[in-house]
């Protein structure tokens, strides 16, 4: 079996398992496991977003927590004003997920546009540090801005609504997250197959040759970065609704690091890499977190081992290393 077919089989297995396990938990009345699967799905959405910048475009953004937090605060602030019946900038709050998601994506996209336009003037190590610094700027802003809880964060008392679902029920929330994840993966696959994706990957592999072919690296990369931020922002809005809480901790630099770790554990640039990586990270936390309070030490050792000796992540390990440009 060639490795492309192997990867598709593996993808189908991962997608099936992420559905089957919570389905079993729903039947067995284990809401904790459903919520865990929902968290994996939402983290995977965030990482699919980052995978556009990192996997396709080779842009190592160390600041994607910024978009996660922005999306989270859109959900939190909208729900806050809807709950208290107050207005923000002349608009009423809302407890409907669809307008919240739209706003979260637009806002994340705008901020990613500004951050990207500045950061993409540089490359390599500068790019990593600058995206990190912009995320820290957002983190400290959220920390010291008192109107929405500052350091204490902002609770969402009632989970926002989605037409036709009762989002307060874990199973409904899972279905929603799973559906959005599948849509995002479809969008990622479409993007990768499209001319735009080909251009983005060409720029990653050799910016000079791409430029010689008439592809403007800056414009294409910026669009990729904005799309990436938008999807991560969407995940942020969903994450805030899942935990019914948003705080500056969502923008912490460690979260940006974890998003990269998810992609690396799963496999860079792979369609299902983020899903596999999110499942490994959450699984690791739950399993080893139950055994020892020092589980992060073990996570660090595993991560170090993967980086030094097993590049390609889980999917690379199981499906083989294919299409280095892929």
């Amino acid at each position: 079996m060639d490795s492309t077919r192997k990867e598709w089989l593996l993808n189908a297995l991962i997608a099936g398992a992420l559905f089957a396990v919570p389905l079993w938990a729903w039947l067995a009345n284990e809401p904790f496991i459903i919520t865990l699967a929902t968290r994996i799905a939402i983290l995977a959405i965030a990482a699919v977003g980052l995978n556009i910048a990192l996997g396709l475009g080779g842009m190592v953004s160390f600041g994607h927590a910024l978009y996660l937090g922005l999306g989270g605060y859109v959900a939190g602030i909208a729900a806050h004003h809807a709950f208290h019946g107050t207005e923000v900038l002349g608009l009423p709050g809302t407890n409907q997920m669809l307008p919240i998601w739209a706003l979260a994506m637009v806002l994340s996209g705008l901020v990613a546009g500004v951050v990207g336009a500045l950061s993409l003037r540089t490359s390599g190590i500068f790019f990593i540090m600058i995206t990190l610094a912009f995320a820290q700027m957002g983190f400290f802003f959220a920390l010291s801005w008192p109107a929405y809880g500052g350091e204490d964060g902002l609770p969402i008392f009632v989970r926002n609504q989605f037409p036709g679902l009762n989002t307060a029920r874990p199973w409904d929330m899972f279905l929603l997250a799973y559906a959005v994840l599948m849509l995002c993966l479809l969008a990622f696959a479409g993007l990768r197959a499209a001319r735009f994706g080909a251009a983005l990957m060409a720029i990653r592999q050799n910016p000079d040759r791409a430029a010689a072919l008439g592809i403007s690296p800056f414009g294409i990369k910026l669009v990729g970065f904005v799309l990436s931020g938008m999807i991560t922002g969407l995940a942020g809005a969903m994450m805030a609704d899942l935990t019914r809480f948003v705080s500056p901790a969502m923008m912490a630099w460690t979260v940006s690091g974890e998003l990269i770790v998810i992609i690396i554990l799963g496999g860079v640039g792979r369609l299902f890499g983020p899903v596999a990586g999110a499942a490994i990270l959450v699984g690791f936390e739950v399993f080893f977190g139950g055994l020892t309070e020092h589980w992060k030490l073990w996570l660090g050792l595993v991560l170090l081992g993967v980086v030094l000796f097993a590049r390609g992540g889980l999917i690379g390990l199981l499906a083989g290393r294919v299409r280095h440009g892929g």
Partner: protein, 305 residues
Amino acid sequence: MTLALVLEQLLNGVQFGLMLFLMSAGLTLVFGVMGLINLAHGSLYMIGAFLCAAVAGASGNFWLGLMAGIAAAAAAGALIEMVVIRRLYARDHLDQVLATFALILILSEGVRMVFGPFPLYLNVPSALRGTVSLGIVDYSLYRLALIGFGLAVALGLWALISKTRLGIRIRAGESDREMIAALGVNIRALYTIVFALGAGLAGLAGALVGAIQSVQVGMGEPVLILAFVVIVIGGIGSIRGAMVGALLVGVIDTMGRFLLPRFFATFMDTSQAMGVGAALASMLIYLLMALVLIFRPKGLFPAHG
């Protein structure tokens, strides 16, 4: 707002800037010579602070603690370089970020396992307690000593790099790694020495700052990120750039936190002005960094032309 208060804040800014310089100097050297981005630099700062606090607490002597902190950080740096970092020089920046991120997890949990989850406290050495009169302001003697320390180390570093054989090798390593290896310099040993030197400086900064803050796990990362801002502003690989960047960041951050809330209070109600002022002040240095990037994308003092 009196002149004395402004002067005190200005001195605090300079002191903060010089401690940032100690952090940034190591980072920028490691990048300049080895082309490596080291996120775990903040962990070495933490190791310096913990060892200093532990040894000073046990022996009652701050200076013994300081020596232990520097030595421990430098030794940890040399060990990490030989076991992990050495394998990363030929890798891309993504691998370097991930491996050193993993090192942060390992070192932070390791320190938590050894020293427990609670913060340690480190007392200012008795000879440096109290204040000293600087004409219009009484200033903390310890903070003044930190300024002196920072300047002395900066001077020493300058002398090391421009006047000694090791310094020549470091500068040669910055401009052409393959060539100096071909000329017979033991490049592996040089890398280990540079890394340990940077680690020792980070440990020194951690130990010195540990006496005015609490010594706890995670203390290194906020400083690490500020050091990134410093070297982006100064130009990666440039020690002189790190000095200028560190002083700019230290003074602007400190003065912003002091002045902005007072500025907004002149036309807003006080509690609101505090909030807006504090929020904006926390973003100032990042805005400065953005401005530098717009006009000088390689930083103020680009290392290689």
